[in-house]
Protein backbone atom coordinates (compact mmCIF):
# COMPACT_ATOMS: atom_id res chain seq x y z
CA UNK A 1 0.00 0.00 0.00
CA UNK A 2 1.23 3.48 -0.81
CA UNK A 3 2.25 5.95 1.85
CA UNK A 4 -0.54 7.91 3.45
CA UNK A 5 -0.24 11.21 5.18
CA UNK A 6 -2.18 14.00 6.76
CA UNK A 7 -3.22 17.05 4.78
CA UNK A 8 -0.68 18.98 6.88
CA UNK A 9 -1.12 22.58 7.95
CA UNK A 10 -4.53 24.02 7.15
CA UNK A 11 -6.23 27.39 7.47
CA UNK A 12 -9.87 28.13 8.16
CA UNK A 13 -11.74 30.63 6.00
CA UNK A 14 -14.98 32.47 6.49
CA UNK A 15 -17.52 33.39 3.83
CA UNK A 16 -20.14 36.06 4.40
CA UNK A 17 -23.62 35.64 2.96
CA UNK A 18 -25.80 38.71 2.72
CA UNK A 19 -28.80 37.12 1.03
CA UNK A 20 -31.37 36.39 3.76
CA UNK A 21 -31.96 32.72 4.59
CA UNK A 22 -35.52 31.69 5.30
CA UNK A 23 -35.45 28.94 7.89
CA UNK A 24 -37.80 25.99 8.23
CA UNK A 25 -39.19 27.54 11.43
CA UNK A 26 -40.33 30.56 9.39
CA UNK A 27 -37.72 32.84 10.90
CA UNK A 28 -35.29 34.62 8.60
CA UNK A 29 -31.56 35.04 9.09
CA UNK A 30 -30.84 38.35 7.35
CA UNK A 31 -27.15 37.58 6.88
CA UNK A 32 -24.67 35.05 8.19
CA UNK A 33 -21.12 33.76 8.11
CA UNK A 34 -19.98 30.23 7.38
CA UNK A 35 -16.53 29.12 8.46
CA UNK A 36 -14.99 26.35 6.39
CA UNK A 37 -11.79 24.59 5.44
CA UNK A 38 -10.80 22.89 2.20
CA UNK A 39 -8.23 20.21 1.44
CA UNK A 40 -6.93 19.16 -1.98
CA UNK A 41 -7.54 21.02 -5.23
CA UNK A 42 -10.77 21.66 -7.11
CA UNK A 43 -10.29 20.22 -10.61
CA UNK A 44 -10.92 22.11 -13.86
CA UNK A 45 -14.50 20.92 -14.39
CA UNK A 46 -15.22 21.17 -10.64
CA UNK A 47 -16.33 17.57 -10.47
CA UNK A 48 -14.26 16.38 -7.52
CA UNK A 49 -15.75 18.28 -4.57
CA UNK A 50 -16.71 16.30 -1.48
CA UNK A 51 -18.60 17.87 1.40
CA UNK A 52 -18.11 16.58 4.94
CA UNK A 53 -21.06 17.24 7.26
CA UNK A 54 -20.32 17.26 10.95
CA UNK A 55 -22.25 15.68 13.78
CA UNK A 56 -23.39 17.11 17.12
CA UNK A 57 -20.11 18.55 18.41
CA UNK A 58 -18.07 18.72 15.22
CA UNK A 59 -16.97 21.68 13.17
CA UNK A 60 -15.13 22.74 10.02
CA UNK A 61 -11.74 21.54 11.26
CA UNK A 62 -12.03 18.05 9.82
CA UNK A 63 -8.41 17.31 8.96
CA UNK A 64 -4.88 18.59 9.41
CA UNK A 65 -3.48 20.94 12.01
CA UNK A 66 -3.31 24.71 12.28
CA UNK A 67 0.25 24.49 13.59
CA UNK A 68 2.76 21.68 13.98
CA UNK A 69 2.47 22.14 17.72
CA UNK A 70 -1.30 21.40 17.81
CA UNK A 71 -1.95 18.47 20.12
CA UNK A 72 -4.70 16.99 17.94
CA UNK A 73 -5.53 17.16 14.24
CA UNK A 74 -9.07 17.70 12.86
CA UNK A 75 -11.83 15.34 14.01
CA UNK A 76 -11.81 13.01 10.98
CA UNK A 77 -8.13 13.32 10.10
CA UNK A 78 -7.71 9.53 9.81
CA UNK A 79 -10.04 9.56 6.77
CA UNK A 80 -8.64 12.45 4.79
CA UNK A 81 -5.28 13.10 3.17
CA UNK A 82 -3.00 12.00 0.34
CA UNK A 83 -3.41 8.22 0.03
CA UNK A 84 -6.06 8.04 2.74
CA UNK A 85 -9.56 6.65 2.05
CA UNK A 86 -10.78 10.12 1.06
CA UNK A 87 -7.72 10.85 -1.05
CA UNK A 88 -6.93 14.54 -1.37
CA UNK A 89 -4.79 13.75 -4.43
CA UNK A 90 -8.12 13.14 -6.19
CA UNK A 91 -10.77 14.99 -4.21
CA UNK A 92 -11.37 18.55 -3.14
CA UNK A 93 -12.74 18.22 0.38
CA UNK A 94 -14.85 20.84 2.13
CA UNK A 95 -15.60 20.92 5.84
CA UNK A 96 -17.76 23.63 7.36
CA UNK A 97 -19.11 24.69 10.70
CA UNK A 98 -22.88 24.56 10.55
CA UNK A 99 -25.14 27.52 11.26
CA UNK A 100 -25.81 27.78 14.97
CA UNK A 101 -22.32 26.46 15.68
CA UNK A 102 -19.70 27.95 17.94
CA UNK A 103 -16.52 27.69 15.90
CA UNK A 104 -16.76 30.66 13.57
CA UNK A 105 -20.05 30.31 11.69
CA UNK A 106 -22.96 32.49 12.81
CA UNK A 107 -24.45 31.09 15.98
CA UNK A 108 -25.73 32.01 19.42
CA UNK A 109 -22.28 33.13 20.61
CA UNK A 110 -21.64 35.38 17.61
CA UNK A 111 -22.73 39.00 17.41
CA UNK A 112 -26.27 39.82 16.36
CA UNK A 113 -25.79 42.71 13.92
CA UNK A 114 -29.18 44.14 14.95
CA UNK A 115 -28.16 44.62 18.57
CA UNK A 116 -24.39 44.54 18.56
CA UNK A 117 -24.61 41.94 21.34
CA UNK A 118 -24.28 38.14 21.23
CA UNK A 119 -27.40 36.46 19.81
CA UNK A 120 -27.75 34.15 22.80
CA UNK A 121 -31.23 32.66 23.08
CA UNK A 122 -32.40 34.85 20.18
CA UNK A 123 -30.45 32.89 17.60
CA UNK A 124 -33.09 30.92 15.68
CA UNK A 125 -33.57 27.19 15.90
CA UNK A 126 -31.96 25.67 12.80
CA UNK A 127 -32.77 22.34 11.15
CA UNK A 128 -30.98 19.82 8.97
CA UNK A 129 -32.88 21.26 5.97
CA UNK A 130 -31.63 24.76 6.84
CA UNK A 131 -28.08 23.50 7.07
CA UNK A 132 -28.29 21.86 3.66
CA UNK A 133 -29.64 25.12 2.24
CA UNK A 134 -26.71 27.04 3.69
CA UNK A 135 -24.26 24.37 2.51
CA UNK A 136 -25.66 24.64 -1.02
CA UNK A 137 -25.00 28.37 -0.87
CA UNK A 138 -21.45 27.67 0.24
CA UNK A 139 -21.09 25.35 -2.77
CA UNK A 140 -22.39 28.19 -5.00
CA UNK A 141 -19.89 30.54 -3.39
CA UNK A 142 -17.08 28.08 -4.19
CA UNK A 143 -18.35 27.76 -7.78
CA UNK A 144 -19.38 24.11 -7.37
CA UNK A 145 -22.54 23.10 -9.17
CA UNK A 146 -22.53 19.41 -8.28
CA UNK A 147 -20.82 17.61 -5.42
CA UNK A 148 -19.09 14.31 -6.17
CA UNK A 149 -20.16 13.18 -2.71
CA UNK A 150 -21.59 14.29 0.60
CA UNK A 151 -20.29 12.32 3.57
CA UNK A 152 -21.54 12.37 7.13
CA UNK A 153 -21.81 10.25 10.24
CA UNK A 154 -24.67 10.44 12.76
CA UNK A 155 -26.26 13.90 12.48
CA UNK A 156 -23.87 14.41 9.55
CA UNK A 157 -25.42 11.39 7.82
CA UNK A 158 -28.83 13.04 8.14
CA UNK A 159 -27.44 16.04 6.25
CA UNK A 160 -26.03 13.77 3.54
CA UNK A 161 -29.45 12.14 3.20
CA UNK A 162 -31.20 15.53 3.16
CA UNK A 163 -28.89 16.72 0.38
CA UNK A 164 -30.15 13.97 -1.91
CA UNK A 165 -33.74 15.07 -1.27
CA UNK A 166 -33.25 18.86 -1.32
CA UNK A 167 -30.86 18.88 -4.27
CA UNK A 168 -31.15 15.60 -6.18
CA UNK A 169 -29.21 17.00 -9.13
CA UNK A 170 -26.41 18.50 -7.11
CA UNK A 171 -25.04 15.38 -5.41
CA UNK A 172 -23.79 12.22 -7.14
CA UNK A 173 -23.01 10.09 -4.09
CA UNK A 174 -24.15 10.11 -0.47
CA UNK A 175 -22.27 8.26 2.26
CA UNK A 176 -24.67 7.94 5.18
CA UNK A 177 -22.81 6.49 8.14
CA UNK A 178 -24.09 5.46 11.60
CA UNK A 179 -27.20 7.51 10.99
CA UNK A 180 -30.99 7.20 11.09
CA UNK A 181 -34.04 8.43 9.17
CA UNK A 182 -35.24 10.03 12.43
CA UNK A 183 -34.57 9.65 16.15
CA UNK A 184 -36.43 7.15 18.27
CA UNK A 185 -38.18 8.33 21.45
CA UNK A 186 -35.33 6.88 23.53
CA UNK A 187 -32.75 8.71 21.45
CA UNK A 188 -34.63 12.02 21.79
CA UNK A 189 -34.97 11.36 25.51
CA UNK A 190 -31.18 11.51 25.91
CA UNK A 191 -31.23 14.88 24.14
CA UNK A 192 -33.93 16.16 26.47
CA UNK A 193 -31.93 15.17 29.57
CA UNK A 194 -28.88 16.90 28.09
CA UNK A 195 -30.87 20.08 27.43
CA UNK A 196 -32.42 20.02 30.89
CA UNK A 197 -28.96 19.74 32.41
CA UNK A 198 -27.96 22.90 30.53
CA UNK A 199 -31.17 24.89 30.95
CA UNK A 200 -31.48 24.28 34.69
CA UNK A 201 -27.89 25.36 35.32
CA UNK A 202 -28.14 28.63 37.34
CA UNK A 203 -25.50 30.11 35.04
CA UNK A 204 -27.72 29.63 31.96
CA UNK A 205 -29.75 32.87 32.35
CA UNK A 206 -32.32 31.73 29.77
CA UNK A 207 -29.59 31.52 27.17
CA UNK A 208 -28.29 35.07 27.70
CA UNK A 209 -25.36 34.02 29.88
CA UNK A 210 -22.80 35.89 27.75
CA UNK A 211 -24.02 39.29 28.95
CA UNK A 212 -23.79 38.04 32.53
CA UNK A 213 -20.22 36.93 32.03
CA UNK A 214 -21.42 33.46 32.96
CA UNK A 215 -21.05 29.99 31.40
CA UNK A 216 -23.40 27.08 32.22
CA UNK A 217 -20.44 24.73 32.49
CA UNK A 218 -22.04 22.30 34.91
CA UNK A 219 -24.97 21.68 32.62
CA UNK A 220 -22.84 21.35 29.52
CA UNK A 221 -20.49 19.02 31.36
CA UNK A 222 -23.30 16.69 32.42
CA UNK A 223 -24.81 16.81 28.92
CA UNK A 224 -21.49 15.71 27.46
CA UNK A 225 -20.96 12.98 30.07
CA UNK A 226 -24.39 11.57 29.22
CA UNK A 227 -23.59 11.76 25.53
CA UNK A 228 -20.34 9.86 25.96
CA UNK A 229 -22.12 7.01 27.73
CA UNK A 230 -24.46 6.61 24.78
CA UNK A 231 -21.67 6.82 22.18
CA UNK A 232 -19.88 3.81 23.66
CA UNK A 233 -21.12 0.25 23.90
CA UNK A 234 -21.31 -1.58 27.22
CA UNK A 235 -18.58 -3.90 25.94
CA UNK A 236 -16.34 -1.03 24.88
CA UNK A 237 -16.68 0.66 28.27
CA UNK A 238 -16.05 -2.68 29.91
CA UNK A 239 -12.92 -3.24 27.85
CA UNK A 240 -11.67 0.30 28.33
CA UNK A 241 -12.37 0.75 32.05
CA UNK A 242 -14.10 -2.27 33.49
CA UNK A 243 -14.33 -1.76 37.25
CA UNK A 244 -10.77 -0.48 37.43
CA UNK A 245 -10.08 1.78 40.39
CA UNK A 246 -7.98 4.84 39.83
CA UNK A 247 -5.99 4.54 43.03
CA UNK A 248 -6.37 0.81 43.49
CA UNK A 249 -8.69 1.03 46.49
CA UNK A 250 -12.26 1.84 47.42
CA UNK A 251 -12.47 5.01 49.50
CA UNK A 252 -16.12 5.03 50.59
CA UNK A 253 -16.68 8.52 49.24
CA UNK A 254 -17.91 10.37 46.19
CA UNK A 255 -14.73 11.52 44.55
CA UNK A 256 -13.30 9.97 41.42
CA UNK A 257 -12.73 6.33 42.36
CA UNK A 258 -13.39 4.35 39.22
CA UNK A 259 -11.44 4.92 35.99
CA UNK A 260 -14.73 5.35 34.14
CA UNK A 261 -15.62 8.33 36.34
CA UNK A 262 -12.29 9.90 35.66
CA UNK A 263 -12.82 9.50 31.91
CA UNK A 264 -16.33 10.98 31.94
CA UNK A 265 -15.33 13.92 34.13
CA UNK A 266 -12.31 14.62 31.94
CA UNK A 267 -14.42 14.52 28.77
CA UNK A 268 -17.12 16.66 30.38
CA UNK A 269 -14.66 19.28 31.64
CA UNK A 270 -12.82 19.44 28.33
CA UNK A 271 -16.03 19.89 26.38
CA UNK A 272 -17.50 22.48 28.79
CA UNK A 273 -14.37 24.55 28.31
CA UNK A 274 -14.59 24.71 24.52
CA UNK A 275 -18.23 24.30 23.43
CA UNK A 276 -21.18 26.65 23.63
CA UNK A 277 -24.28 25.57 25.57
CA UNK A 278 -26.71 27.36 23.25
CA UNK A 279 -25.14 25.60 20.28
CA UNK A 280 -25.55 22.26 22.06
CA UNK A 281 -29.25 22.96 22.54
CA UNK A 282 -29.68 23.73 18.85
CA UNK A 283 -27.68 20.74 17.59
CA UNK A 284 -29.79 18.36 19.68
CA UNK A 285 -32.98 20.00 18.42
CA UNK A 286 -31.83 19.60 14.81
CA UNK A 287 -31.42 15.90 15.56
CA UNK A 288 -34.88 15.68 17.15
CA UNK A 289 -36.65 17.51 14.33
CA UNK A 290 -35.09 15.57 11.44
CA UNK A 291 -37.85 13.35 10.04
CA UNK A 292 -38.13 13.49 6.25
CA UNK A 293 -40.92 10.89 6.22
CA UNK A 294 -43.20 13.06 8.36
CA UNK A 295 -44.60 15.02 5.39
CA UNK A 296 -45.31 11.70 3.67
CA UNK A 297 -47.37 10.12 6.41
CA UNK A 298 -44.36 8.34 7.82
CA UNK A 299 -43.48 6.78 4.46
CA UNK A 300 -39.70 7.16 4.05
CA UNK A 301 -39.78 5.54 0.62
CA UNK A 302 -42.13 8.28 -0.59
CA UNK A 303 -39.84 10.92 0.93
CA UNK A 304 -36.92 9.51 -1.06
CA UNK A 305 -38.85 9.11 -4.33
CA UNK A 306 -36.94 11.86 -6.15
CA UNK A 307 -33.39 11.09 -5.08
CA UNK A 308 -30.87 10.42 -7.83
CA UNK A 309 -27.66 9.96 -5.88
CA UNK A 310 -25.92 6.63 -5.39
CA UNK A 311 -25.65 5.59 -1.77
CA UNK A 312 -23.34 3.87 0.62
CA UNK A 313 -25.05 3.22 3.96
CA UNK A 314 -22.88 1.97 6.82
CA UNK A 315 -23.77 0.95 10.37
CA UNK A 316 -21.86 -0.59 13.27
CA UNK A 317 -22.99 -3.69 15.13
CA UNK A 318 -22.44 -2.30 18.64
CA UNK A 319 -23.95 1.13 17.95
CA UNK A 320 -27.12 1.25 20.02
CA UNK A 321 -27.76 4.99 19.74
CA UNK A 322 -27.95 4.78 15.91
CA UNK A 323 -28.50 1.07 15.57
CA UNK A 324 -28.05 -0.99 12.37
CA UNK A 325 -31.84 -1.41 12.23
CA UNK A 326 -32.20 2.34 11.61
CA UNK A 327 -29.67 2.26 8.77
CA UNK A 328 -31.53 -0.71 7.30
CA UNK A 329 -34.66 1.46 7.17
CA UNK A 330 -32.78 3.93 4.99
CA UNK A 331 -31.42 1.10 2.85
CA UNK A 332 -34.89 -0.40 2.43
CA UNK A 333 -36.45 2.92 1.40
CA UNK A 334 -33.70 3.35 -1.20
CA UNK A 335 -34.29 -0.18 -2.47
CA UNK A 336 -38.00 0.58 -2.78
CA UNK A 337 -37.04 3.40 -5.12
CA UNK A 338 -34.56 1.21 -7.02
CA UNK A 339 -31.73 3.54 -6.06
CA UNK A 340 -28.16 2.41 -6.35
CA UNK A 341 -27.29 1.47 -2.76
CA UNK A 342 -24.80 -0.68 -0.93
CA UNK A 343 -25.15 -1.37 2.77
CA UNK A 344 -22.41 -2.51 5.14
CA UNK A 345 -22.90 -3.60 8.72
CA UNK A 346 -19.44 -3.31 10.23
CA UNK A 347 -18.59 -5.55 13.16
CA UNK A 348 -17.17 -3.10 15.66
CA UNK A 349 -16.95 -2.90 19.43
CA UNK A 350 -16.83 0.88 19.83
CA UNK A 351 -20.53 1.71 19.66
CA UNK A 352 -21.56 4.94 17.95
CA UNK A 353 -17.98 6.25 18.21
CA UNK A 354 -16.92 3.54 15.74
CA UNK A 355 -17.66 5.81 12.78
CA UNK A 356 -14.68 7.98 13.70
CA UNK A 357 -12.28 5.08 14.33
CA UNK A 358 -9.74 3.91 11.75
CA UNK A 359 -10.97 0.29 11.74
CA UNK A 360 -9.18 -1.35 8.74
CA UNK A 361 -12.29 -3.02 7.27
CA UNK A 362 -14.41 0.11 7.69
CA UNK A 363 -11.75 2.26 6.07
CA UNK A 364 -11.38 -0.29 3.28
CA UNK A 365 -15.09 0.04 2.57
CA UNK A 366 -14.87 3.83 2.36
CA UNK A 367 -11.65 3.68 0.34
CA UNK A 368 -13.11 1.28 -2.23
CA UNK A 369 -16.40 3.12 -2.52
CA UNK A 370 -14.66 6.48 -2.96
CA UNK A 371 -12.21 5.03 -5.49
CA UNK A 372 -15.15 4.07 -7.70
CA UNK A 373 -16.41 7.65 -7.80
CA UNK A 374 -15.47 9.14 -11.11
CA UNK A 375 -14.15 12.66 -11.31
CA UNK A 376 -13.42 14.66 -14.43
CA UNK A 377 -15.85 13.87 -17.23
CA UNK A 378 -19.35 12.54 -16.84
CA UNK A 379 -20.61 9.64 -14.80
Amino acid sequence: MSETSSVGIVTAQTAHFSEPLKLKSGEVLPAYDLTYETYGTLNADKSNAVLICHALSGNHHVAGKYAETDKYPGWWDNLIGPGRPLDTNRFFVIGLNNLGGCHGSSGPSSTNPATGKPWGADFPVVTVEDWVESQARLADYLGIDQLAAVIGGSLGGMQALQWTMSYPDRVRHALVIASAPNLTAQNMAFNEVARQAIMTDPEFYDGHYYEHGAVPRRGLRIARMLGHITYLSDDAMGAKFGRKLRDGEIKYGFGVEFEMESYLRYQGDKFAGEFDANTYLRMTRALDYFDPALEYGGNLSAALANVKARFLVVSFTSDWRFSPARSREIMKALLDNECSVSYAEVTAAHGHDAFLMPDPHYHNILRNYLQNIRTGGTE
Binding site: L335, E338, V341, S342, Y343, E345, H361, I365, N368
Partner: protein, 204 residues
Protein backbone atom coordinates in the same frame (compact mmCIF):
# COMPACT_ATOMS: atom_id res chain seq x y z
CA UNK B 1 -9.45 -7.44 -19.73
CA UNK B 2 -12.51 -5.72 -21.07
CA UNK B 3 -15.93 -6.48 -19.63
CA UNK B 4 -17.42 -8.41 -22.57
CA UNK B 5 -14.38 -10.62 -22.81
CA UNK B 6 -14.73 -11.42 -19.12
CA UNK B 7 -18.39 -12.37 -19.55
CA UNK B 8 -17.49 -14.67 -22.45
CA UNK B 9 -14.92 -16.32 -20.29
CA UNK B 10 -17.36 -16.70 -17.41
CA UNK B 11 -20.06 -18.10 -19.71
CA UNK B 12 -17.58 -20.60 -21.09
CA UNK B 13 -16.78 -21.96 -17.66
CA UNK B 14 -20.07 -21.25 -15.94
CA UNK B 15 -22.78 -22.78 -18.04
CA UNK B 16 -25.08 -22.33 -15.03
CA UNK B 17 -24.63 -18.54 -15.27
CA UNK B 18 -25.58 -18.62 -18.94
CA UNK B 19 -28.71 -20.65 -18.13
CA UNK B 20 -29.73 -18.24 -15.38
CA UNK B 21 -29.25 -15.32 -17.79
CA UNK B 22 -31.44 -17.16 -20.29
CA UNK B 23 -34.21 -17.47 -17.70
CA UNK B 24 -34.26 -13.72 -17.02
CA UNK B 25 -36.01 -10.91 -18.82
CA UNK B 26 -33.77 -8.17 -20.16
CA UNK B 27 -33.47 -5.33 -17.62
CA UNK B 28 -35.28 -7.19 -14.84
CA UNK B 29 -34.84 -6.41 -11.14
CA UNK B 30 -32.96 -9.21 -9.41
CA UNK B 31 -31.87 -10.05 -5.88
CA UNK B 32 -28.97 -12.50 -5.57
CA UNK B 33 -28.86 -14.12 -2.13
CA UNK B 34 -25.44 -15.19 -0.88
CA UNK B 35 -23.91 -13.49 -3.89
CA UNK B 36 -20.29 -14.19 -2.92
CA UNK B 37 -17.91 -11.85 -4.72
CA UNK B 38 -20.68 -10.72 -7.08
CA UNK B 39 -19.51 -12.73 -10.09
CA UNK B 40 -23.01 -13.85 -11.15
CA UNK B 41 -24.56 -10.38 -10.77
CA UNK B 42 -21.63 -8.83 -12.59
CA UNK B 43 -22.27 -11.25 -15.43
CA UNK B 44 -26.03 -10.64 -15.41
CA UNK B 45 -25.58 -6.85 -15.34
CA UNK B 46 -23.32 -7.09 -18.37
CA UNK B 47 -25.28 -9.63 -20.37
CA UNK B 48 -28.90 -8.84 -19.44
CA UNK B 49 -28.64 -5.30 -18.01
CA UNK B 50 -30.16 -6.68 -14.85
CA UNK B 51 -30.87 -4.11 -12.15
CA UNK B 52 -29.33 -6.20 -9.44
CA UNK B 53 -28.66 -6.20 -5.74
CA UNK B 54 -26.56 -8.79 -3.97
CA UNK B 55 -26.95 -9.96 -0.40
CA UNK B 56 -23.79 -11.15 1.32
CA UNK B 57 -22.80 -11.69 4.94
CA UNK B 58 -19.04 -12.16 4.65
CA UNK B 59 -16.91 -9.00 4.94
CA UNK B 60 -14.32 -10.01 2.34
CA UNK B 61 -16.95 -11.08 -0.20
CA UNK B 62 -18.93 -7.91 0.49
CA UNK B 63 -15.87 -5.83 -0.31
CA UNK B 64 -15.23 -7.79 -3.52
CA UNK B 65 -18.78 -6.98 -4.63
CA UNK B 66 -18.16 -3.30 -4.01
CA UNK B 67 -14.96 -3.52 -6.05
CA UNK B 68 -16.88 -5.30 -8.82
CA UNK B 69 -19.36 -2.43 -8.95
CA UNK B 70 -22.22 -4.51 -7.50
CA UNK B 71 -24.84 -3.00 -5.20
CA UNK B 72 -24.48 -5.21 -2.16
CA UNK B 73 -26.38 -5.45 1.09
CA UNK B 74 -24.70 -6.95 4.10
CA UNK B 75 -27.03 -9.18 6.04
CA UNK B 76 -27.48 -12.71 7.29
CA UNK B 77 -29.96 -14.68 5.19
CA UNK B 78 -30.76 -16.91 8.14
CA UNK B 79 -32.70 -13.95 9.58
CA UNK B 80 -35.03 -14.02 6.55
CA UNK B 81 -35.83 -11.24 4.12
CA UNK B 82 -38.10 -9.21 6.39
CA UNK B 83 -36.49 -5.97 5.19
CA UNK B 84 -37.78 -6.54 1.66
CA UNK B 85 -41.27 -5.76 0.38
CA UNK B 86 -43.41 -8.55 -1.01
CA UNK B 87 -43.13 -9.00 -4.77
CA UNK B 88 -40.56 -6.19 -5.00
CA UNK B 89 -38.20 -8.15 -7.29
CA UNK B 90 -38.76 -9.85 -10.63
CA UNK B 91 -36.53 -12.67 -9.54
CA UNK B 92 -34.70 -13.79 -6.41
CA UNK B 93 -31.68 -16.03 -6.98
CA UNK B 94 -30.06 -18.52 -4.61
CA UNK B 95 -27.08 -19.86 -6.52
CA UNK B 96 -25.34 -22.84 -4.85
CA UNK B 97 -26.16 -21.53 -1.40
CA UNK B 98 -29.23 -23.60 -0.48
CA UNK B 99 -27.12 -26.42 0.92
CA UNK B 100 -25.41 -24.04 3.34
CA UNK B 101 -28.63 -22.60 4.78
CA UNK B 102 -29.88 -23.68 8.21
CA UNK B 103 -33.31 -22.17 7.67
CA UNK B 104 -33.95 -23.84 4.32
CA UNK B 105 -37.73 -23.91 4.33
CA UNK B 106 -37.99 -20.31 5.40
CA UNK B 107 -35.59 -18.92 2.81
CA UNK B 108 -37.32 -20.61 -0.13
CA UNK B 109 -40.70 -19.31 1.04
CA UNK B 110 -39.20 -15.85 1.57
CA UNK B 111 -37.74 -15.89 -1.95
CA UNK B 112 -41.19 -16.46 -3.37
CA UNK B 113 -42.69 -13.75 -1.18
CA UNK B 114 -40.14 -11.11 -2.23
CA UNK B 115 -39.74 -12.24 -5.85
CA UNK B 116 -42.29 -13.04 -8.52
CA UNK B 117 -39.99 -15.90 -9.43
CA UNK B 118 -37.14 -17.75 -7.70
CA UNK B 119 -34.09 -19.47 -9.11
CA UNK B 120 -32.42 -22.08 -6.93
CA UNK B 121 -29.31 -24.06 -7.87
CA UNK B 122 -27.50 -26.67 -5.75
CA UNK B 123 -25.04 -29.56 -6.08
CA UNK B 124 -26.93 -32.82 -6.52
CA UNK B 125 -25.94 -35.16 -3.71
CA UNK B 126 -27.47 -38.02 -5.70
CA UNK B 127 -24.84 -37.70 -8.49
CA UNK B 128 -23.30 -41.12 -9.13
CA UNK B 129 -19.79 -40.04 -8.25
CA UNK B 130 -21.06 -38.93 -4.83
CA UNK B 131 -22.89 -42.24 -4.43
CA UNK B 132 -19.74 -44.09 -5.43
CA UNK B 133 -17.66 -42.30 -2.83
CA UNK B 134 -20.29 -43.14 -0.20
CA UNK B 135 -20.29 -46.78 -1.37
CA UNK B 136 -16.53 -46.73 -0.90
CA UNK B 137 -17.28 -45.64 2.66
CA UNK B 138 -16.39 -41.94 2.54
CA UNK B 139 -18.21 -38.59 2.39
CA UNK B 140 -18.13 -37.23 -1.17
CA UNK B 141 -15.64 -34.55 -2.12
CA UNK B 142 -15.96 -33.18 -5.66
CA UNK B 143 -15.82 -30.07 -7.78
CA UNK B 144 -19.35 -29.08 -6.72
CA UNK B 145 -18.94 -30.22 -3.10
CA UNK B 146 -15.29 -29.32 -2.52
CA UNK B 147 -15.23 -29.67 1.27
CA UNK B 148 -14.07 -32.22 3.81
CA UNK B 149 -16.87 -33.35 6.12
CA UNK B 150 -15.29 -31.65 9.15
CA UNK B 151 -14.74 -28.34 7.43
CA UNK B 152 -17.79 -27.57 5.31
CA UNK B 153 -20.37 -24.77 5.25
CA UNK B 154 -22.87 -27.30 3.86
CA UNK B 155 -25.51 -28.43 6.32
CA UNK B 156 -28.46 -29.38 4.10
CA UNK B 157 -27.23 -31.35 1.12
CA UNK B 158 -30.01 -32.93 -0.89
CA UNK B 159 -30.71 -34.83 -4.10
CA UNK B 160 -32.82 -33.74 -7.05
CA UNK B 161 -35.50 -36.21 -5.93
CA UNK B 162 -35.46 -34.67 -2.44
CA UNK B 163 -35.89 -31.16 -3.78
CA UNK B 164 -38.69 -32.18 -6.16
CA UNK B 165 -40.48 -33.61 -3.13
CA UNK B 166 -39.73 -30.47 -1.10
CA UNK B 167 -41.40 -28.32 -3.78
CA UNK B 168 -44.37 -30.67 -3.96
CA UNK B 169 -44.82 -30.63 -0.18
CA UNK B 170 -44.47 -26.84 0.07
CA UNK B 171 -46.85 -26.05 -2.76
CA UNK B 172 -44.10 -24.61 -4.94
CA UNK B 173 -44.49 -24.69 -8.70
CA UNK B 174 -41.43 -25.96 -10.57
CA UNK B 175 -41.57 -23.90 -13.77
CA UNK B 176 -38.42 -25.35 -15.19
CA UNK B 177 -35.67 -27.73 -14.12
CA UNK B 178 -32.28 -28.16 -15.75
CA UNK B 179 -29.54 -30.54 -14.71
CA UNK B 180 -25.89 -30.18 -15.65
CA UNK B 181 -22.73 -32.19 -15.30
CA UNK B 182 -19.65 -30.05 -15.84
CA UNK B 183 -21.59 -27.72 -18.11
CA UNK B 184 -23.34 -30.45 -20.17
CA UNK B 185 -27.12 -30.82 -19.97
CA UNK B 186 -28.29 -34.15 -18.56
CA UNK B 187 -31.75 -35.35 -19.53
CA UNK B 188 -31.54 -39.09 -19.00
CA UNK B 189 -31.55 -40.17 -15.32
CA UNK B 190 -30.63 -36.70 -14.03
CA UNK B 191 -30.66 -37.61 -10.32
CA UNK B 192 -27.94 -40.19 -11.01
CA UNK B 193 -26.03 -38.52 -13.80
CA UNK B 194 -26.35 -34.81 -12.92
CA UNK B 195 -23.96 -32.91 -10.64
CA UNK B 196 -25.70 -29.52 -10.58
CA UNK B 197 -29.46 -28.93 -10.31
CA UNK B 198 -31.09 -25.68 -11.46
CA UNK B 199 -34.70 -24.81 -10.66
CA UNK B 200 -36.95 -22.00 -11.79
CA UNK B 201 -39.71 -21.70 -9.21
CA UNK B 202 -42.99 -19.88 -8.76
CA UNK B 203 -46.09 -19.96 -6.59
CA UNK B 204 -48.72 -22.55 -7.43
Amino acid sequence: MNATHKFDKIAEFRQDFAIIANWLKFGCKALDLGCGDGELLHFLQGSMEVRGYGVEKDDANWLSCLQNGINVIQMDLEAGLSGFEAQSFDVVILSQTLQAMHNTENIVQEMLRVGREAIVTFPNFGYWRNRLQLMAGQMPVSRDIPYQWYDTPNVHLCTIKDFDQFCENHNIHVKERLVLTYGQRIQFMPNLRGSLAMYRLGRK
